[in-house]
Symmetry: C2
Subunit: 285 residues, 2 copies
């Protein structure tokens, strides 16, 4: 496994691999890898002849006062895990090698990027879209793998790739969870014991929404009310949103129908830690 720090070197490596006829699977991460990331790596491993993982804590997607400084950085451990999972290339640029303070070019995904996380974290998705466009140009892969845990981010990256004609297949992968349902996230490490114990309530609310829909409920309002009640009953969680949306546009739904895939999305705060999660709502036939 090779570790590459310079974007130029990475571009040269990729060009050589492509000229040699290799197919390239790419997993962009901010490091602090968990089983969710490793599942993406294993899938990329199966579907491509070369696997590239980037590790870069992107300053552009953090707002002032957010956790950019304290975000966990454990490059050595990450590289050990990647080696175990048969990654070929790690792209681990220094901050200034990839993000230049003099940069004036930004990629913005309108509409999709304005609601939910975009409303609570203004500028966040602009930072995400800009760094992903950069990474796609540095690691010119055939396929890129993203977890569904960050569902809004996934939709934004699908739109970005489609709208800007990036020649890359975006492959979504299901959320990996702890036994009690908590979605894996590098930020779970911030939780103290009490907040960790409370956190699976989010998954319970999503599961309740799925059950309502499975039992024939088609009113988004009723599903929203049920989710809100479950979250609000957990005093350690401060709910930010819980909502049933159109899974393509992320606009709130009124009525669930077979025609439009629906998704339940939740964000809540436990202490200073934001937790987000989501689930597909399968309407019975």
């Amino acid at each position: 496994m090779k570790i590459i720090e310079s974007p130029r070197d990475m571009q040269r490596q990729i060009e050589a691999l492509r000229l040699a006829g290799e197919t390239i699977g790419f997993v962009p991460t901010m490091g602090a890898l968990h089983e969710g990331h490793l599942e993406l790596v294993r899938r990329a491993r199966k579907e491509n002849s070369q696997v590239v993982v980037s590790i870069f804590v992107n300053p552009m997607q953090f707002r002032p006062g957010e956790d950019f400084e304290k975000y966990p950085r454990v490059l050595e451990r990450d590289c050990e895990l990647l080696q175990c999972n048969h990654c070929d290339l790690v792209f681990a640029p220094e901050k200034n090698a990839l993000v230049d303070e003099r940069a004036v070019t930004f990629v913005k995904v309108e509409k999709l990027g304005e609601r939910w996380e975009g409303e609570i974290r203004p500028g966040h998705f602009r930072g995400v879209a800009t760094i992903v466009a950069k990474l796609f140009n540095v690691v010119r892969a055939h396929r890129a793998y993203f977890g569904e845990k960050d569902f809004q981010q996934l939709k934004i990256i699908e739109a970005l790739a489609r709208d800007l004609n990036f020649e890359i297949e975006i492959v979504p992968s299901p959320t990996i969870r702890e036994n009690d349902g908590l979605a894996l996230s590098s930020r779970n490490a911030y939780l103290n014991a009490e907040d960790r114990a409370a956190a699976p309530t989010i998954f319970q609310a999503l599961t309740a929404a799925q059950k309502l829909v499975a039992n024939g409920e088609s009113s988004a309002q009723k599903i929203n009310d049920a989710m809100q009640k479950i979250i609000d009953a957990q005093q350690r969680l401060q709910r930010e949103y819980s909502v049933v949306v159109d899974a393509q546009t992320l606009e709130p739904l009124q009525i669930l129908t077979q025609r439009k895939p629906a998704r339940a999305m939740i964000a809540a705060r436990a202490g200073n830690t934001r937790l987000i999660d989501n689930a597909a709502l399968e309407i019975p036939k």
Copy 2:
């Protein structure tokens, strides 16, 4: 010479060419080709093994009320000219093949894109930057050629390529002029006889600025005054701006110095036709 209409087909062609070890020179245009464009094609021909020219009147860079509808479209003639100049591939997509009304992703170049043309034509450079990012992803060239006549656009595209890590060399090329100094532009065709006769005044103002600098003038204000006086004396021209700027940042300069390359930029209207032009200001040693 092959004409390709679909972005996907173009991507496949380019991939095959790159795998075969070809180097690709790319000239993006809106068609209605003139000697300025053909000079770029000839330069691309010299410096690459394959030459690709795109012809696409980009709706995103026109504002409501501008000349999108009447912009000259002469694809057959353009293709004849390109064949004469040994172009290999023409990318001529249908409007809807490249620009989708449902697209939500846009590329914006801040600062550089906000002044001058950006102020007079809000949204114009966002349209330019977005389409150029798309074209760079469709026609993955080694070099792309742009005329200096659209100097602000050139600077924006240089920033875009650098900031988003596009693996492409941006090659600027000097403005081609009529014998009387008028910079070649597809929009010159809009000029009636009187306006056409008045139009070279812009070049005369730029030349006057160059002479002042050559003779030791270092006050931008004095140079600006001189340009303004020349333009305003021509009653058929309505001056929009005439200004000495830092050639990198396009911010107005106060004093010309050896350290900072300077550029004079002018925009004026003749009837309904906007004319823009610019020139380097070489400070004597």
